[in-house]
């Protein structure tokens, strides 16, 4: 077994207790939610008997340990249960909605990186300068804005006042038909189908929420880029490179930047997890059919299965993401690059 494979396996093994922990915590958390879902879902005029009937059919009349056992057994068989508020199997809901959230989050992250990384590099090259200060104020202002406020303000300005943005109605204007689902990402699916009108329509819907989210994620990325560029630029190998007479741009981008990327990628992972959470609010403002808004609704009505499914899928996503980051690490770190194996 190659050391790399072993390392990956080790990472996977390490993730197991985390996943178990998440299953336990999400189960306990949902059971701690106030209210009796059976009463809630029995409907407006249900009597005692029909509430009891529903409680029984939901398995809520059994003691907690047994409920947990049933839950785990179902999980192992790939059954996430049925969401009561949406009426669909949780797994269907998640597979329908996860791509929406991911598309939004990833677009926002790409946008954010495209702005924040150059900003950070620029700031690091002339620390203390006016542009450094401006950049700092800009990104800090971005992260200081509550996302729901930014979102509403953007809708008001660009849709209501200026009328240049499309109506904030989910992923696609209702006159369009969503592209055949391949990845669930409308941009990718529409491109695959060669349907550029739909692609453009989906893109237009995506701009405002993505900008809202990107504003919020600028700061950590720009800050980390600046900090790691600073430490890279002040390190010995850069000094050596400079002394060896390499030109400035090669030093900056060829050597310093490549080294500075490592902590930036780690930060990206954090930011990704963070913005999936922040998504909850953005999705609510833009009627975005993602899992964030799904989780909020489910939480408010104590929809156990939906909350558990959401939390679990998030955790799995997070674990996978960390794994991917670790792998990316080895790709961009010159010390553990593929060729040095």
């Amino acid at each position: 077994m190659s050391p790399r494979l072993r390392a990956i396996l080790m990472r996977l093994v390490q993730a197991i207790p985390v996943v178990i922990g998440v299953v336990v915590i999400s189960f306990l958390l949902t059971r701690a939610l106030p209210g009796d879902p059976a009463v809630y879902f029995a409907g407006a005029a249900a009597d005692e008997a029909s509430i009891a009937q529903i409680r029984e059919s939901m398995g809520l009349d059994k003691p907690l340990p047994q409920q947990f056992l049933n839950y785990v057994i179902d999980l192992v068989q790939g059954d996430f249960g049925q969401s009561i508020s949406s009426g669909q199997p949780v797994i269907d809901d998640l597979t329908n909605r996860l791509p929406a959230s991911l598309e939004l989050t990833l677009t926002a992250l790409i946008l954010s990186c495209a702005i924040a990384i150059p900003l950070g590099v620029m700031a690091a090259k002339k620390p203390g300068s006016l542009s450094d200060q401006l950049c700092r104020i800009l990104v800090t202002a971005g992260v200081s804005l509550p996302t729901f406020f930014t979102g509403i303000a953007l809708v008001y300005i660009f849709y209501y006042l200026l009328e240049i943005a499309p109506s904030p109605l989910g992923r696609l204007d209702f006159a369009f038909i969503e592209p055949d689902s391949v990845t669930g990402f409308y941009l990718i699916d529409a491109a695959l189908a060669g349907d550029w009108e739909t692609w453009f329509a989906a893109f237009k819907q995506l701009i405002l929420p993505a900008v809202t989210l990107a504003l919020f994620t600028l700061a950590p990325i720009a800050r980390m880029t600046r900090a790691s560029m600073l430490s890279a630029l002040s390190s010995d190998f850069i000094r050596t490179a400079r002394a060896a007479g390499l030109n400035e741009s090669r030093v900056t981008y060829g050597y310093a930047f490549r080294n500075a990327l490592l902590p930036v990628v780690t930060t990206l992972g954090m930011v990704f997890s963070f913005s999936l959470g922040a998504n909850v609010l953005v999705e609510k403002v833009f009627a975005w059919p993602g899992i964030g808004s799904y989780a909020v609704e489910a939480l408010v009505v104590s929809d156990y299965a939906a909350v558990q499914g959401f939390v679990l899928s998030m955790a799995l996503l997070f674990v996978t993401l960390n794994l991917v980051i670790d792998l990316t690490y080895s790709l961009i770190d010159p010390r553990i690059g593929f060729d040095s194996k």
Partner: protein, 537 residues
């Protein structure tokens, strides 16, 4: 059609509606493309099932039962001055039934079905389908069975299909509520052959199948359902239940943010915004068509729980009633929409309900009553409101809180999340001071009292119990309204209710709907959107 309608299928289905030629146009002008044939409505609620009988189906989903299924009978339509069209409780009209007769003793109802009524799959609607559907409604439990019970329909043995076109209901007790109860969304008629084909041993009523795939004879079919996003109705051209709807396609979009909904309707991007906030209704009234219909048999009220010691003192209850700043609440929480329910005459002179209580804002009188009570030095009490209804409950509670402080009652406002609200307020009935908003589907005062004033009944959130009310409700509930004993009994009920004050009426709320490019919206007691009468303009 089901959830998984593919793009190609969808295009095929919509071909007849949108027309192949209009499709490219539609893509270029997505918003304006909504022409007369297509109506787009927005709502803040989520439709979570296409089957009303299924467990866990929420209120917003009832509209599917209304638009996609038929009942034996329906209510007529009337014009409400200043508020457009409304259903008419006093007029029962045929839907699937062509005619009906009621036996002399009122115990046997015989329905003749329309011979040309067809389900969407082209098969004939028979009395056996009606029987299966009614059996289902009384057997699945939960809300459908409870609602059926209100009309005296409790067990399958009561229903009989004599032949394909004759259906008979047998009652244990004649009741004025039975026929109207057949016109509520619950007893809808399902294509039993299709449903039975998908029934399983664990699921004899095919709830899993009908949950996603309606099988009815109604005016609209479901062309597409994306839970949490939209529901697309497509007209059933063979409908015989009533006049053929004008719109070929109605799209119901779910938009959680009220601000976004307002912008959409204001700009005309959508033709209808269902259940808009009172404030928007007031402000949009001169820009778009706004229908504000006071909801029949419904009132927003303050609940004083009889298990909370200070509220057992009649002087305290009356003091609270005199301390409430009614007019301010009506203006700030309801923006003047709906009907005031305070400052009425001392003497009860009619059986109109909801009606104005004899109380009004008078802080001096309230202080006087507090001084006479056993709690002259005041007390403190939590004031509970529902998080889901905070748009009207919060301003109301804040204003009441302010005035109660002036008479020595200190309150702390407690917002209870949706899942817990029903349990705490209605099932456990443990909230000392709270707001409540029950509305009865069947529009008679006795029906309201049955739910809200009888001991142990669900909406009696005040734990109120008065032996005289118990007997009066039992007597009047099934009594015909033209019975000479009916009116005096009802008026006596009102008298007791206003004297005992377990619920202090505030105002009768309105259901607000804004239209911009659609007309003939009709209000229904079930407070869901009936898309059948809508016309594009």
């Amino acid at each position: 059609m089901t959830l998984s309608t593919s793009r190609r299928n969808f295009l095929k289905m919509s071909g007849g509606v949108l027309g192949a030629s209009s499709l490219p146009l539609l893509k270029i002008m997505p918003v304006q493309a909504a022409n007369k044939d297509v109506i787009v409505a927005v709502t803040g609620q989520t439709i979570n099932s296409l089957d009303l009988h299924r467990k866990g189906t929420n209120r917003a989903s009832y509209q599917v039962a209304v638009n996609c299924y038929d009942r034996l009978v329906s209510f007529g339509t009337k014009e409400v001055p200043g508020a457009g069209l409304s259903y008419d409780y006093s007029k029962i009209e045929p839907e699937l039934a062509e005619s009906w007769t009621i036996s002399e003793d009122g115990l046997k109802l015989t329905f003749k079905l329309k011979p040309n009524a067809k389900f969407w799959d082209g098969t004939k609607v028979t009395a056996h389908d009606v029987k299966w559907s009614f059996d289902r409604a009384v057997s699945v439990g939960g809300f459908p069975s409870v609602q059926m019970k209100a009309g005296g329909l409790v067990k399958p043995e009561q229903f009989e299909a004599i032949d394909d076109e004759t259906f008979v209901i047998t009652l244990a007790q004649a009741s004025k509520l039975t026929l109207p109860d057949l016109a509520v969304p619950v007893p809808f008629v399902i294509n039993s052959k299709v449903a039975k084909a998908h029934a399983t041993e664990n699921d004899p009523w095919a709830t899993e199948f009908l949950h996603k795939t309606p099988a009815g004879s109604g005016a609209f079919k479901v062309a597409k359902w994306m839970p949490g996003e939209q529901l697309v109705y497509e007209r059933n051209d063979d409908w015989v239940g009533g006049p053929l709807p004008a719109a070929k396609r109605v799209i119901v979009r779910e938009v959680p943010s009220p601000a976004t909904r307002r912008a959409l309707i204001e700009k005309g991007n959508v033709q209808l915004s269902f259940n808009i906030p009172n404030k928007d209704a007031k402000e949009l009234a001169d820009k778009v068509d706004v229908y504000s219909t006071p909801i029949e048999n419904c009132m927003h009220c303050v609940g004083l729980n009889y298990t909370f010691e200070p509220f057992q003192d009649p002087n305290v209850r009356k003091a609270v009633a005199y301390a409430i700043p009614y007019e301010e609440i009506f203006q700030t929480a309801a923006y003047g929409r709906g009907a005031p329910l305070w400052g009425g005459p001392e003497k009860i002179d009619s059986i109109q309900w909801p009606r104005k209580s004899p109380y009004f804002t008078d802080l001096d009188k309230a202080k006087e009553l507090m001084a006479q009570s056993g709690f002259a030095s005041g007390f403190s009490v939590p004031f509970s409101i529902s998080l889901g209804l905070s748009d009207w409950m919060e301003p109301t509670a804040l204003l009441i809180q302010e005035n109660l402080a002036k008479i020595g009652i200190t309150t702390e406002i407690e917002k209870i999340p949706g899942a817990n609200w029903r349990t705490a307020a209605l099932v456990e009935k443990k909230l000392p001071l709270h707001l409540e908003n029950f509305g009865g589907w069947l529009n008679t005062p006795d029906y309201y009292f049955f739910w809200a004033y009888k001991k142990g009944h669900l909406f009696n959130s005040s734990n109120y119990m008065n032996p005289e009310i118990e007997t009066l409700v039992d007597e009047t509930l099934h009594m015909p309204m033209d019975d000479p004993k009916y009116a005096p009994n009802i008026m006596r009920m009102f008298e007791i209710a206003f004297e005992d004050l377990p619920r202090i009426p505030l105002w009768q709320p309105a259901l607000n709907v804004a239209a911009n490019g659609a007309k003939d919206y009709e209000f229904w007691f079930h407070r869901q959107l009936d898309v059948r009468p809508l016309k594009g303009t």
